[in-house]
């Protein structure tokens, strides 16, 4: 890395142009290249990230003028039971989703990893949900789980003819199930890719030592999948903060029945864009940011994403 950056110096002597000018021009072109991305990212992601904190201290209905409100949104939000319920539901979706999706994705990844036509065929079928938008998935499952005309009217499947999305007790679990339906194939792909990268020599050595199936799974495959597990879990946990589209559609934009599926992003949307209280919605959004940053700080530390070296080095 540093070697590349310093190369102009040894290359310079046979050039008439003074070294300093070249370095200056290089710095300028580098700046020009980095600028558009930084501008776009700064304007629409970083500044809004700060903006949401500022807006949480204001009062705004989304149309009129914005006025200073001090901490009133925050005292309102933090003393409101629905906020804590939304946080609780978000955490619940996060934890249950992880518990449901991780073993399934790992099992499917193990199945998919060996190359072969049968497996490739299965993989194509599993891939289908990944092509559908969350809205398409939401509309399909909503109609499919309709107690009168949905799958529950199939002979043998009458036990499904109940208000899976309409009952406050079942709705959240139904939502978690549909989320899993959407995302397990993706995580299975991650595990599959991780398994395929495990050096075969490890298995050969284990075979020579007479290690059994379970031993190989527990002592080689799972430990070697450590990074995949961290990555997949990070994406699942941080991703579960953002389940908006699917729950929005499944609950008809209400986070219902009642507030049974009103997770934090939905509570934020409803407060801001349906109840027109942008200040308070911004306070909820700030909670979402804090939740997300906290989670990712823990997980990036574990996964070593920020390492500056090439992943192929040393292989």
């Amino acid at each position: 890395m540093t070697a590349v950056a310093r190369t102009p110096c040894p290359a310079a002597p046979h050039r008439a142009r003074p070294d300093t000018t070249r370095a200056g021009r290089r710095g300028l072109s580098g700046l020009l290249m980095a600028a558009p991305a930084l501008l776009l990212f700064g304007l629409f992601a970083l500044i809004p990230l700060g903006g949401v904190v500022v807006l949480s201290l204001t009062s705004w209905d989304g149309l009129g003028s914005i006025s200073w409100a001090g901490l009133s949104n925050w005292s309102g939000v933090l003393t409101d039971g629905t906020t804590w319920q939304a946080l609780w539901l978000t955490a619940k979706v996060m934890v249950v989703s992880w518990l449901v999706q991780t073993p399934l994705a790992l099992a499917l990844g193990l199945f998919q990893a060996p190359r072969g036509r049968t497996r490739a065929f299965f993989a194509v079928l599993w891939f289908l949900p990944l092509l559908l938008s969350a809205v398409a998935i939401g509309l399909t499952w909503q109609a499919l789980l309709d107690p009168s005309f949905g799958i529950g009217s199939t002979p043998g499947l009458h036990w499904l003819a109940r208000p899976l999305l309409g009952s406050p007790d079942l709705a959240l679990y139904t939502v978690i199930f549909v989320i899993a339906w959407q995302f397990v194939p993706f995580h299975a792909l991650l595990y599959q890719a991780g398994i395929r990268q495990i050096p075969v020599s490890l298995y050969e050595a284990a075979a020579i030592d007479g290690a059994g199936v379970m031993t190989r799974l527990l002592r080689i495959t799972l430990p070697q999948l450590k990074y995949t597990l961290v990555t997949s879990s990070t994406l699942m946990l941080v991703g579960s903060l953002t389940y908006f589209d699917l729950i929005f559609v499944l609950s008809g934009g209400t986070g219902g029945p009642g507030t049974a599926t009103r997770v934090l992003p939905l509570a934020m949307y409803i407060t801001g864009f349906q109840a027109h209280d942008m200040g308070r919605a911004s306070a909820l959004a700030t909670l979402l940011v804090l939740f997300g940053l906290g989670l990712s700080m823990i997980t990036t530390r574990l996964s070593g994403f920020t390492r500056m070296d090439s992943q192929q080095e040393g292989m």
Binding site: T7, A11, A37, W126, E204
Partner: protein, 299 residues
């Protein structure tokens, strides 16, 4: 199941030297084989049944929908629902989606390639800081900043226009795109850069004649990945546009539900039609799509 278990025996046997070892192991993993086989079959049913139901329902008449058994083939198959959808505003929504997706992906790729190049080329604190910012960006939930983005778009006089969707979508596609491109560019041999420096090439020439051509596979991969995300994106369109003629497909689907109400087969036809373009991409570029979904995340 028998073909499945044969394939299972080939596990780890992709490279010739281990084939013998793998074969000797074939009989020895009943538990793991059974578990993952059962999971695989169960999941296949779970993945296929809803998609099958979606397609057969879209081919039913409204009357058949209430009387046919849900998983049976339609008793009088019809394309009426597709006609209903296509006779409406579908073409407008389709064009909007295509425009938004193509422009967003193009902007993202150009901007991200330049940024990734500077991250790899310069090892100064500034380039490190910019890379860290993009990594941080991976963790910013799009939902969390939607209100300031809404305010910004209003102030920029762009509310209810397609560029209003393009700009924030591109901004939020940047972190992943930069990350994937950076990890790809790092593997370009340094000697190639050095050779170009000796030839007196500047950054721009290096970008155009070395980095861009070498990064082509990675660019295709992220293009497909970003394209899928933008095509399926819902929140930005929901918040930043309002008129029907600016709606992109996912938003339009919710409009269809309102419009068709209890006419489920017509709604399902709209769902199928909205997914077809991605199905075409999948058929044409399955490898890139799979690679895109795992690139940068798998190690």
């Amino acid at each position: 199941m028998s073909t499945t278990s044969t394939a299972r025996g080939r596990h780890q046997a992709t490279r010739p030297p281990v084939q013998a070892a793998a074969r000797s192991r074939r009989g020895g993993k009943p538990l793991r084989r059974t578990l993952s086989g059962v999971a695989a079959l169960g999941w296949t049913a779970l993945a296929v049944v809803p998609v099958y139901w979606l397609v057969v329902t879209s081919l039913r008449t409204r009357t058949d929908f209430t009387t046919d058994s849900p998983l049976a083939l339609p008793s009088s198959p019809t394309l009426e629902n597709y006609k209903t959808v296509l006779n409406g505003e579908f073409t407008t929504y389709l064009i909007n989606s295509v425009l938004v997706t193509v422009v967003t992906v193009a902007v993202t790729l150009v901007v991200a390639l330049m940024a990734a190049f500077t991250v790899v080329r310069y090892s100064n604190p500034w380039s490190r800081l910019s890379f860290r910012l993009y990594l941080l960006g991976l963790a910013i939930p799009l939902q969390a900043v939607i209100i300031p983005v809404y305010l910004l778009i209003i102030r920029l006089q762009m509310y209810d226009s397609l560029p209003a969707i393009v700009l924030p979508s591109a901004a939020f596609a940047l972190p992943v795109t930069v990350m994937i491109l950076v990890s790809f560019l790092r593997d370009i041999p340094r000697s190639l850069f050095e050779a170009m420096v000796v030839d007196g090439a500047g950054d721009w020439r290096m970008l155009f004649s070395l980095v861009a051509p070498m990064a082509r596979p990675a660019l295709v991969t992220v293009a497909v990945y970003d394209g899928l995300q933008v095509w399926n994106g819902f929140l930005f369109p929901l918040i930043l546009t309002q008129s029907g003629d600016k709606a992109v497909l996912p938003l339009a689907l919710t409009l269809y539900r309102g419009q068709f109400g209890i006419d489920v087969p017509a709604t399902m036809a709209a769902v199928v039609l909205s997914t077809l373009p991605m199905l075409v991409v999948f058929v044409l570029a399955r490898r890139q799509l799979v690679a895109g979904l795992t690139a940068g995340f798998s190690k």
